[in-house]
């Protein structure tokens, strides 16, 4: 879907994290957790390519969806210039979202930084009886949406790199501590590649399946230009899959993580 939609809300969540709520029946009614949209941040040349942003939350009654993004460069900075009521050019929902298997009674979502955002709708939609969220941020000031995650999970563990909030250290350490005691049916990762790589190693050790949501620089966002390559296993060999179409969510064991 390529649509010009209306912004319903712009909210600053912290120093450099913002929420945009967009009204779009077409997207809200079709999107599933883990999918993304490809957004035009300026009408002209100033951020020429679209920017991929995950869908963080969907309100299927209100026909809106939320994006939460961190300002990183030109495009995300321009996005901050939008106001409620403005029109925005969105392509989506795109890609393959998370798998929601009703047989999985206990799931764990593990997110780091901007990777936490797409896990929110997953928690909202997943039918599991027990949902654990393990979220990591660099520091206390960057923690956002904690109340929402609390609301949609049964257990919420927080970590910061510097120990300024929650436990000091990595989410993968928290995960491992948990797996010593518990055996969830499924783990979902979204965050820095290094975290996901380590995460997949850990859950594999315990024989637990997992999914990871990958990031890659994109062109078209729809699978036509082949720039968003991600190394995935293919029999004995490997091949490049494409994050925008085959992903962003992949089975954890599929992905060949590199240094």
């Amino acid at each position: 879907m390529h649509r010009i939609e209306t912004i319903k809300k712009m909210k600053k969540l912290n120093e450099d994290t913002f929420l945009i709520r967009i009204k779009s029946e077409a997207i809200a009614s079709r999107a599933v957790a883990g999918q993304f949209v490809n957004i035009r941040c300026s009408e002209g040349m100033d951020a020429y390519l679209r920017r991929p942003i995950s869908i963080c939350a969907i309100d299927r009654e209100d026909n809106t969806f939320d994006l939460v993004y961190q300002v990183r460069g030109k495009g995300t900075r321009l996005l901050c210039g939008f106001e409620s009521g403005d029109q925005i050019d969105v392509l989506g929902p795109l890609g393959r979202g998370f798998t929601l298997n009703p047989e999985h009674q206990h799931i764990v979502v593990v997110g780091g930084g901007i990777g936490t955002f797409p896990l929110l709708q997953l928690l909202k939609d997943h039918p599991a009886k027990k949902k654990t969220a393990i979220l990591g941020f660099r520091t206390k000031e960057l923690v956002v949406l904690e109340d929402k995650f609390k609301k949609h999970s049964h257990e919420l563990l927080m970590a910061t790199d510097d120990g300024s909030y929650g436990q000091k250290g990595f989410v993968t350490t928290l995960l491992e501590q948990m797996l010593i005691k518990e055996r969830p049916h499924m783990v979902y990762f979204c965050g820095p590649a290094i975290m996901m790589k380590r995460g997949v190693e850990i859950v594999s050790k315990y024989g637990i399946p997992c999914e990871v949501s990958m990031e890659q620089r994109m062109g078209c966002g729809v699978g036509a230009c082949l720039v968003c390559a991600c190394k995935t296993k293919k029999g004995e060999d490997w091949d490049y899959s494409h994050v925008c179409k085959d992903g962003p969510v992949f089975a954890g064991h599929e992905v060949v993580f590199e240094e």
């Binding site: 020429y48 390519l49 679209r50 620089r217 062109g219 036509a224 082949l226 390559a229 490049y240």
Partner: protein
Amino acid sequence: MSLQKDLSVNVAGLKLKNPVIAASGAFGFGREYSEYFDLNRLGGIAVKGLTLLPRKGNPPPRIAETPAGILNSVGLQNPGVHAFIEKEIPFIRQFDTAIIANASGNTVEDYESMVEILSAADIDAIELNLSCPNVKEGCMSFGSTAQGVSQVVSRVKPRAKKPLIVKLTPNVTDIAEIAKAAEDAGADAVSLINTLLGMAIDAHTRKPILANVTGGLSGPAVKPIALRMVYQVSQAVKIPIIGMGGISNGIDAVEFLLAGASAVMIGTAGFVNPMAWVETVEGIEAYMEEQGVKNVTELIGGLMV
């Protein structure tokens, strides 16, 4: 709109209902964008660059944004010409649009085989890619000298049973000379420009943004260079030209037609605006309406210098 307009063009035997073609590499095999608009509206589709055997392409990141443009270093990832013929042609053939097979090789023999195989396939034209800057062997190394172009084209031409379009690289001192070499060696048409070799650096990490270090520049940034090259080539050869490089709308397309192109291709602009291809067709029509141009061919080479 009131004027009765004819947008069809004939490029060396390749009949197009309108002069707008999706550029190779930006449109996959058409499946993805078929969800966004009706492929019947396109003059043609140049499919992703094909090679004899499947290719994995280069490691990511494969794209970098630059001022009014992009760099890509896909490196001809494709399933191979046989998979294309088996799995992709039947899909595209559902639509009434020309299929242009973009073919690359490492050796002259590769090009010969590709042309033979494609000549037997249900396609409308072959675009010989002598200009991909993102692969180590073949391709651009043939395309960057008149001799290399001449060698490949003269060897493949006898095997070509479809219109043979030779795609030229802009990374040369004198593109007119290269186009002339293609013409003399038997090319039915030339298409230009492929991407300009470029590079992007992340000052903070002190590393190139592309894993492949360099990549090919495309998009609006290159339009002035592409227009100049199309114009120069149009002064040097008699065969038709397919122009491209930064075209985003009907007015851009008209500029290329005026400079001497018989048709245009659009790649990068489609990433930003998936309706760019269709809107370009509409934009050409609107221009014709406004200027009272009945037949789009009246515009070709119409620049007043």
